[in-house]
Point group: D2
């Protein structure tokens, strides 16, 4: 049996990445693709790398008949997403890739996004989509909220340590190196090649980045007390990849043991041998997350570094993994492509 | 039934690319990987992006038992390749990725490679591996010679035109833009990031590049008379991709028709609509070749541009496609991954 | 005596490059900088790399008092430029970096730019700014038109050969590899890092690129008969640099001799030893143009390759060189910075 | 009066950068360039971007007559450097760019470099070359030791804070993003374009990087007690630039005030307005260091970020600045080039 799939907002990078992955899936059929400004175009015009696939043309959302659709990937901008999802028929399952349903509390949403949530009943229903930690809820969910890509990387590095009490919860520094596709296909000056190539800088610093809302929500819940990490992303001259360097206080060998144990049965979360740290190039284009641990000459200090592809494990790969769970398809289907290096 | 595969010279980029593709194949099992200087290491040490695959460790060729092996991919340096292949048991099928068996004539080999061929009987036996044009011979072959990556790109752009008499055979200019992985993982100063990044230059110019031997052999055979193209590769600050810009004298619409007809049933050779030209980014990591045709304001002049990934369609993807034919596996198996963009 | 300078359109890359060069000049003082949308901002906000210079803030053109100004660099978009220049006081000298005054014939302008020129008297007065070939006219000019960056690269490779009758005028192929800053700081999808990085493609092909108007004008005048080259630019994943590969019919040694003779006394036009071809990386950030010549195995064929930095010798460096001539300042002042490599 | 200069080890990137800077200096003449393996070649062969300068050919050190030479830049590998410098005549001033004389204590040297120092008397004599903090000693020195490029970036961010007691000395995390030219022109696999491009990773982590010896020496001396920072460099797909992100405990506004005051009269150390953080692209190719300070939502936490060009302010620019002091030439001579952006 083949699941019928629609992708809303298919003209962005996460939409294209979904199509790329689903093309190898075998158990899904894409029956509708929407895009607002680019409606009417063929997907192969907007993304020539997908031209060989027999895809439906980009339509407007209003044109889509959701009757026969099993699952919708919603890759729309946040705020738009909540309005669109509120209008979808109840029988359709939804994986949302926007930021709209990541925070469970309406207050938190308003704090980080600057206005009240427009669909609080849906917000209450949504399951947080960090697959390995919410697997059972996702399996039963109608609406799953994809995590922030930075939030995914940081949590893979730290969740078992926060939960297990292995690190000082008041002294966590997360320094992230983030590829530019995380910002989407948007026309902004800092995203131009001539601006970005051959240079790097911090952005969203000072405790202002919205993915902090996710870290706070998740780490505080795990710890049973408020946890507020320091998190600073840096924009890299690269298209794919997040390298999350976490500086923590704790014993490196115990940290390594805990992560190795926690992810022992997780195909996509690969813990490297103790003392080895990962590189983004070795997960590019794949759903894998490589995680490494190193001690420091300063006793009681350690680094945990996680590398993932923001478009795959950080976004569309995660979304497909969640969709598989929701549709009762084997979880790894369409997601075992080896990374594309060099 | 699963074919047993060995890859000789697995520590280079084409070896790694073979592993990446075979990982999605389903009908092949890699039972031996060899590397000379890196023998004894795990493949995941040499190529961490492949660490999740259950691969045999890198061995020395002498350690490999070829008895149960169905097919060998030989990704060794040229000259080494002919010596190694000469020693393989006759029962093993071989796809050679080196330059050793591309030229059919011993004289041509000596002209372009500067010394006599060391295995002329094998040279006589080898089939030229440009799949779409040698499909039947490849199916029957024991030894298939992978083409040069530049030679593949140029031939996809031009073969039907040379054969069909659509262009002036004495006035073909091939200006190629080539990514650096085509030079392999070799430690040479011009291949350093600090040298290459943000700049470009011609290399192997003046009619000296060895892939000219292939162009001469193939185009002359097609035309039934000597054909000598001008071919100049330029090194690009990019890891994957060849863009072959062919400047020809002929009628652009007829050229487009001829190419479209010729490749009508070829899944991997995609002819774009008339007037559209391809980009390497849209074939990255895939076995597709995009081909476009444009006229010029100067009457009787046309451009044919072909884009392919030098490591995939230009090398390891081609090798796998040929191996499928030789092993009577459906030709496209393991090769339908969509390109990885952005 | 210090010349008083204004730069109109200073928020683009050519504006910033002018400021960078003038900062080392010694005989010029920037007294006004204008920008339309960014008026009111400090130059150091728009271009933080210039923050240490004591520059006037960005103003609107209307706010500039041109009374005490000796020379204006006009780095505005084409069409805008002609309207603004028409309004400048006659006593001010002008170097225009737009395309507005490159073509001498109103008909040619209309052909290539799609509408009549709005200031034909100024068009008649303007001198074409290819310094080494129009030096005396530039010295005497009030209005100098900066050349297209591609047009400069192609002409440096070919002018002495066209003038000297050394090559077949009906068979010139110009294949250019162009860095992205040539497209300016404009918000267009293909200029995004995520689109451009790691890939390349032809653009403005088929005989449609406007710089063809310049080639036609200049080469035809030199030859005393119509000359129509084939010219195709390709967009590169790099910020600075044009590599112009010219495929010509002629004798390579004679071509090399002719270029060497022609540029013997030109400090910025460096002809490499016969058989060596240049690289863009070795002229980056400088006013130098490196030119190389190679023969081919096909008798009577040759390549001439010119490399320059599109923002410097191709645009702002040329503009400053011309301004020096117009202001009777030694021609090379502010222009002898060595290239910035790696 | 023109100072006579020799550069030993001129075939590396720091050697080439010295030549580039000295070319604009006006008060220095390069009379000797040496290179070991490339002796006999013209500098323009090894570095074509310097071909227009009238430079002496690369010689072997033994061929250099040091009699008339005022100052030697020694850009040799460490360990080699100490042996060569020990043999130089006492009358010659020396700026060493290697790691050989950065650490004042023979014990520290042995700890970080794994063997006893071979010239301990010279080690005792050498002055640490962080210009702004050792200006008077440098003016009087015969031998100045260039700092590590990472060490320079980290110290510019932190010295006034360590000295002034503004931050918790036991909790300093330095996360550095370092361009590849810092590794020199060496033939190592991770430095290949195909390996490095589009990816990033930590290296020299775990408290093992030798620049830690410099941080310890300098910060401990400033604080009057042992200070041991955590310092982890990450290799970036870029040619020039270090971004040093320092996570500290202290009050951000006071930190900003202190840095602003400390660097008020320093032309090359530019403190950005409070809350702005720098980018490496805006110092590329220049001797400037941009420094920014931001607070965090977590009270008492702050970030200090310093950006400099590792080849210029981090190495050859610093060396030239020190040479100017030693030769009683105005300190900024040859160093005021604006950064090269884009």
């Amino acid at each position: 049996m083949t699941a019928k799939i629609a992708i809303l907002g298919a003209s962005g990078y996460t939409g294209a990445e979904l199509v790329r992955l689903i093309a190898t899936h075998g158990g899904m059929e894409i029956v509708a693709l929407t895009a607002d400004r680019k409606a009417g175009q063929a997907m192969g015009q907007v993304f020539p790398h997908l031209r060989h696939l027999g895809l439906p043309p980009l339509a407007r959302i209003e044109e889509v008949d959701f009757a026969g659709i099993d699952l919708v990937f919603c890759a729309l901008p946040h705020a738009t997403s909540q309005a669109v999802i509120a209008d979808l028929p109840r029988g359709v399952k939804i994986v949302d890739l926007s930021a709209d349903f990541r925070l469970r509390s309406p207050e938190d949403y308003e704090t980080w996004y600057g206005k009240p949530h427009g669909a609080q009943d849906l917000q209450a229903e949504a399951v947080y989509g960090l697959t390995e930690f919410y697997r059972e809820q996702i399996r039963a969910a109608r609406l799953v909220a994809g995590t922030g890509c930075n939030a995914a990387a940081g949590q893979y590095a730290l969740r078992p340590l926060v939960a297990g009490g292995l690190i000082d919860l008041d002294d966590i520094v997360l320094d992230l190196k983030c590829a530019v596709s995380g910002a989407g296909r948007s026309l902004k000056e800092p995203l131009l090649h001539a601006e970005l190539s051959e240079g790097y800088h911090a952005y969203g610093y000072g405790g202002t980045h919205r993915h902090l809302g996710e870290f706070d929500q998740e780490f505080s819940a795990l710890a049973g007390r408020p946890v507020h990490v320091q998190f600073t992303p840096h924009l890299m001259p690269a298209n794919r990849g997040i390298l999350a360097t976490a500086y923590v206080k704790g014993e490196a060998p115990a940290i390594h043991d805990t992560l190795s144990q926690a992810y022992r049965d997780e195909a996509f979360l690969q813990v490297l041998p103790f003392g080895e740290l990962p590189s983004t190039r070795h997960v590019r284009g794949s759903n894998f997350c490589h995680i490494g641990v190193s001690g420091d000459r300063v006793p009681g200090r350690a680094m945990v570094v996680a590398a993932l592809d923001n478009l795959t494990k950080g976004s569309s790969g995660q979304a497909l993994q969640n969709a598989n769970l929701m549709l009762h398809i084997p979880e790894h289907t369409g997601l075992t492509l080896a990374p594309c290096f060099p």
